[in-house]
């Protein structure tokens, strides 16, 4: 991608990633079900692969959303902890007297969310580039198909790091 194809404001565009992915999926579903896909030479078995790539992409956006949403937890003894992100400010509020174990659990969950974001950051950067091109092309199915097929292996590779951290979090 050449430099002049970048968005005027990538900082705002990243907030639209989820919507762009949903729009791309919808456009492709219409295309793959219709004649357009055949006309553009898309193979019949590309659908599941594209779906997998889009799901991995969506998981990366979810990791960013989960991080950005902060973290709130309340505990059985009535205590509660809230972590709110507001631009460059982070505010933590502790109500009542949560036990050291409850605080340690909160810290561990926060670290997991951080790690998932860090693992997904490179993928999010790649998606930002792809979405920039999609928006410029009006989400034309041929371009969506080509870019997703071209970038699919890299997206799946980067998504594997996300999957690994998710498994480690659950285990």
């Amino acid at each position: 991608m050449s430099g002049d194809e970048g968005p005027a404001d990538p900082f705002l565009a990243v907030a639209d990633l989820g919507e762009h992915l949903a729009r791309a999926r919808a456009a492709l579903e219409r295309s793959l079900l219709g004649r357009a896909a055949v006309a553009e030479g898309a193979a019949a078995d590309e659908g599941p692969r594209i779906t997998q790539v889009l799901e991995v992409a969506q998981a990366a956006v979810t990791s960013l959303g989960r991080f950005a949403s902060g973290l709130q937890r309340s505990f059985a003894d009535g205590a509660a902890i809230s972590l709110v992100r507001d631009g460059s400010r982070v505010t933590v509020t502790v109500l009542g007297a949560p036990t050291p174990v409850a605080i340690a659990d909160f810290i561990a969950e926060l670290a997991d969310i951080d790690q998932r974001l860090l693992d997904g950051a490179e993928l999010l950067g790649l998606l930002l580039h792809l979405c920039t091109g999609w928006v410029a092309a009006g989400f034309a199915p041929p371009l969506l198909l080509k870019t997703l097929l071209d970038s699919g292996p890299r997206i799946l590779e980067l998504g594997a790091a996300l999957s690994r951290s998710a498994v480690e979090t659950r285990s």
Binding site: G3, G6, P7, P10, F11, L12, V14, A15, D16, L17, G18, E19, T62, L64, G65, F67, A68, S69, G70, Q72, S74, A79, A80, I81, S82, L83, V84, R85, D86, G87, S88, R89, V90, T91, V92, T93, V94, L95, G96, A97, P98, T99, P100, I103, A104, F106, I107, L110, A111, I113, D114, L117, L118, G120, A121, E122, G125, L126, L128, H129
Partner: protein, 114 residues
């Protein structure tokens, strides 16, 4: 707040790579619990409510110089665990900024040899 709004609010921090500010407050539960429903009023977790006490604060400047404040003690719970929580929030803020820089790195111009 929608996912999109949360992301936008967060990414606003990259607009100006200035200070990172992390503050930790403590308060009493009854100040935030709805007496009628018994539910926590999450929206009232605001320092501006005047009901919360500052336990610790950290300012990380762009050159990574860091200013820390911590109260001498807290009336509530385990103060050591509270400070660990605060420092975890500082780490998280730094992680978020690192991730954003990584996400947007392809959009920043690079200079040959630089």
């Amino acid at each position: 707040m929608s996912l999109k709004d949360a992301i936008k609010k967060f990414t606003d921090s990259v607009m100006d790579l200035t200070n990172l500010e992390v503050t930790t407050y403590t308060g009493k539960l009854e100040q935030i619990v709805d007496a009628t429903t018994g539910q926590i009023k999450w929206d009232e977790f605001k320092p501006s409510s005047g009901k919360l006490v500052l336990a610790a604060a950290t300012l990380v400047r762009p050159n990574l110089n860091t200013v820390n404040f911590r109260a001498s003690d807290s009336e509530q719970g385990d103060f050591k665990a509270l400070i660990e929580l605060h420092m975890a929030a500082v780490d998280s803020a730094r992680n978020g900024r690192a991730a954003l820089v990584k996400i947007f790195s392809g959009f920043f111009p690079t200079h040959p040899g630089g």
